[in-house]
Symmetry: C2
Subunit: 406 residues, 2 copies
Amino acid sequence: MLDTPRGNRLHIALFGRRNAGKSSLINALTNQELAVVSSIPGTTTDPVFKSMEILPLGPVVLIDTAGIDDIGELGALRIKKTLEVLRKTDLAILVLDPGYGVGDYELELKARLAEARIPVVAVLNKIDVAGRANLAELEQSLGQKVLPVSAKTRQGIEELKRELIKAAPADFEAPYLVGDLVEPGDLAVLVVPIDTAAPKGRLILPQVQVLRDLLDNDAMGLVVKERELKAALAKIPRPKIVITDSQAFLKVAADTPREVWMTSFSILMARYKGDLLELVRGAKAIKHLKPGDRVLIAEACTHHRQPDDIGKVQIPRWLRQYVGGELNFQWVSGGSFPEDLSPYQLIIHCGGCMITRREMLYRIQAAKAAGVPIVNYGIFLAYVHGILDRALEPFPLAKMEWEEDS
Amino acid sequence: MLDTPRGNRLHIALFGRRNAGKSSLINALTNQELAVVSSIPGTTTDPVFKSMEILPLGPVVLIDTAGIDDIGELGALRIKKTLEVLRKTDLAILVLDPGYGVGDYELELKARLAEARIPVVAVLNKIDVAGRANLAELEQSLGQKVLPVSAKTRQGIEELKRELIKAAPADFEAPYLVGDLVEPGDLAVLVVPIDTAAPKGRLILPQVQVLRDLLDNDAMGLVVKERELKAALAKIPRPKIVITDSQAFLKVAADTPREVWMTSFSILMARYKGDLLELVRGAKAIKHLKPGDRVLIAEACTHHRQPDDIGKVQIPRWLRQYVGGELNFQWVSGGSFPEDLSPYQLIIHCGGCMITRREMLYRIQAAKAAGVPIVNYGIFLAYVHGILDRALEPFPLAKMEWEEDS
């Protein structure tokens, strides 16, 4: 993860007065206790760029502006430094101090951010000690929503992550699809069944994206149909990983030596597009479903329905058999995603190939906030076929999550 | 070629009176002397489907309607059989007999073809013996252009091919890209340089199309950057063919064993999209260029010009150096392609990735009709880099054409 080029990472700048609690908020967002770089005001006027992981956003660069906060520098120099930071910022967090609220410093910053068209999420920190009584007043002064949080007790931190996802640029991307699983020179085998559903003369986008990510990471990809896989594996040196379309998983699993990693395009995409950990948690909830439970099946696009449509027919049929009774299915498609997810015991979402990572993460985060497990088609099918276990081997965290008792 | 599934081939039906010369026209189009199936009228009422190659259209199915021509069947049965043929026809040729001209038979057929929205090319055959005196009258009676030809002397046959290309459905495709060069189980290596011009997160379409065509033909493709090629070739069994981006040709040629076929995506696309033989003929004309000659550089789309644009800068610079003097360059782009090509000594066309095969073939055919050599960027660059010779090895006909003295 630390090798992710800084250029690909979402850059999040934290602004706020010296005592607003920017550092503790960084710790809360990253689930880490970081050493405080310096507590002496004015030791440096340069912002500090820290590469870190905020789940589920992925690798980000947090820009710590301690050196240029309200007392770090004054006047022209502070403005110059602030503008320098803004040029590198995709997204800003403005941390309000309950003791000061919204003053000239905050209003000037907000104006600069608006000028630079940088989305800003405002938070009121330290609500564990200072409460949130003046929240409405702060929102009015600042002219935007202010999220009450406590870095110390983690109150509001999940909501903050959701707001960050919502405010992130529409095209922000995860920096890895498969590239972090291979070393330079490694060989990956891509198994691409060609059936009547395959678009004429093309490969589907996830297959092309995986190939490109392999090349970008100095690895190579052998593309083969499932029928030719066994013969191919006998001829070539042992690959690092075999990646298959889910529909061919059982045959491919049988033909791939047990010691070779094997996963599916869907699972790579679930990680790339969404939040693999959360979706694996969702898969674990399937076994707790009971007849009569409410299941939301959500598709991000309104595609032409096949007679044996996966969302309308296959998944409901399989779940009915599994729980041994009727379930209460509801379907949404296209841009609509219910505000209130609390009535559901499970959400099953499509792979989200037609929506941005931001939108997919936002939906997953919304489910998490509502306490409703969410899984996507790819993970669901891997579970149904009994192969999720093997398919998660390349992803130790997700594998641990999967094996942990739910 | 005979393995090309009939479904992919352009279906061309020949209609006309018994003595109009349909069979001799088929022979002229295919450059073959075919055995006449039967000269006894009425032996069969079924149309005969013949898979054959018409250059540069590629593999087609010619539907010989001898059994249902004006004397083969009468009335309802003929109409029924004709409608059956029309359901399978992409393109019709109506052959007029100079002795009969346009009568009820021709007018009824034309009405049926119009009803079925099938494009029709009308020809007046036997002009070597019967002349073309009544051409204008025939055109008026039929209400469309009539092409004067002689199957015997081949007069007008190239123009007929051009009309066929023009009238063909916009989406008709060549049935092979690389699939005819590999056997099931064969391995092809695709060398894909990743530079700043490569679109982010993707492969370009010709690369994807080649991969898909390999899979469609039960072969497999190893995708690798040029830097990793040498190490890859050392590890894997000998591939059937190495296909590279033109820009990496010299390095790839050095790293690929001499006995392995090696070509470029551009050359595969030139064959798929256009007429490799004719473009190779065009390449041979480069060495005859003299200072002051007129060269047309044609691009099918109006892309954003790079500072070192291939059509505007690189090709002219190279040609000036080659002939040792200034040339008279003219440029066209987008949909415009000059009606009169006769002023030019050479036409250099882009790869045509944004236009249909029909349009590209039409342009090549127009150049051929005007007697002006035409080459495309891919073949031109292969020539310039001195690698056309090796890159044509997989294509014996084109290789022979290349080696023949011009």
